[in-house]
Symmetry: C2
Subunit: 190 residues, 2 copies
DNA sequence: TCGAGTGATGTCATTGACTGACATCACAAT
DNA sequence: ATTGTGATGTCAGTCAATGACATCACTCGA
């Protein structure tokens, strides 16, 4: 366990998840996480901006994935069709192997207001990234934000449903189903 | 300025707004806020849970207002009609006198990630309150969250538009217009 | 009028997140 | 062997947040 074990960030992530799950977020100190990972607290903060961020590493990847799918949607797709493509693309990120991990992680997040806040701002970042992507597709400025917001809502609802049942359908199917529900709901908007 | 000047909470709110606006959120310490309000830092934390919360006092009132409007909507209203009623009710909260204050406050919030996080969780609380209200109206469990989420999106977009133009229309009209845009968007959902 | 009670405040001490400055180590290229 | 370079450790310090306890201003009943 010398100074140079590789992947300090990875060890810190695992340590944090384990400790947050066991003692809760508040009941865990950064020093404890660092100890378990075999590094110093100072090193923790070199890898993650703060105590919350350690649970959200990788969220940029998901965002990139969805933005790319949005951009790659057919030019003649409607705004919501493009958004739907982006949300469906997120399914790549969540294969069934990650379902248990996702469920565990979400449990920790839901139990801690501070972590919920961080999650929300990640979702907001996703929303504005999608909005930007829509604008670049030429979508009207008053339509783009609403379409993006709606898309993220679909993602959230689907994700939650996905992790709520360990043996449920794959997330792609859940997303499709949620999109259908949305469509039905739209009929009631009048 | 004895120990018993009334409305310490109010003085703390004003002091915080002024200092956050002038030196930024990070550039302001709780001790400075307390000093300006003529109290101790310890007293600050007796009135507000943390350094962020001081900018969000009163958000429960808005929530209650909207939930009540939702509950008071005609029994035969569709889910989105009820939600629309709730969003429109929020207009009571934002008369034109508050527009300048709201704009100022929003500037501070937008400039500070930590405050954005707090704002987002308030919105999330609003969403779940509306969801609960919808469920109590008998709305289907898979429809309620989406309807609530959509309603909050409408509120956010409208609010932002409202404060972006000091001499623009009153917020009620902006909300109505946003609801129309949403309706148009729904047509594209297919 | 006085003394007990109450609620808001002050004081003090402590923990823990986070940061800057600087030293140090492992490894690589020369 | 020498020198760099990047990741880490060490140390000191700031500041948010909390618990424990004292104190003050004011109220009310004896």
């Amino acid at each position: 366990m010398g100074r140079w074990e590789p992947d300090a960030a990875g060890r810190l992530r695992e340590a944090a998840m384990a400790l947050y799950a066991e003692h809760g977020y508040d009941g865990t100190t950064v020093a404890e996480i660092a100890d378990r990972a075999g590094v110093t607290a100072r090193t923790f903060f070199r890898h993650f901006a703060d105590k919350r961020e350690v649970l959200f590493a990788g969220s940029e990847l998901l965002e990139q994935l969805m933005v790319k799918a949005l951009a790659d949607a057919p030019a003649d797709a409607t705004p919501m069709e493009a958004v739907a493509a982006a949300v469906l693309a997120s399914a790549e990120f969540f294969d069934d192997i990650r379902r248990e991990y996702s469920r565990r992680r979400q449990g920790v997040i839901n139990a801690t207001p501070e972590l919920r806040e961080r999650e929300l701002i990640k979702m907001a970042a996703l929303t504005s990234a999608l909005t930007k992507g829509l604008l670049e597709r030429g979508v009207a400025p008053d339509v783009a934000p609403l379409a993006a917001e709606t898309g993220v809502a679909v993602f959230r609802v689907s994700f939650e449903r996905w992790i709520s049942d360990p043996d449920g359908e794959p997330i792609v199917d859940i997303i499709r189903s949620t999109l259908k529900t949305l469509k039905a709901l739209s009929g009631l908007t009048a």
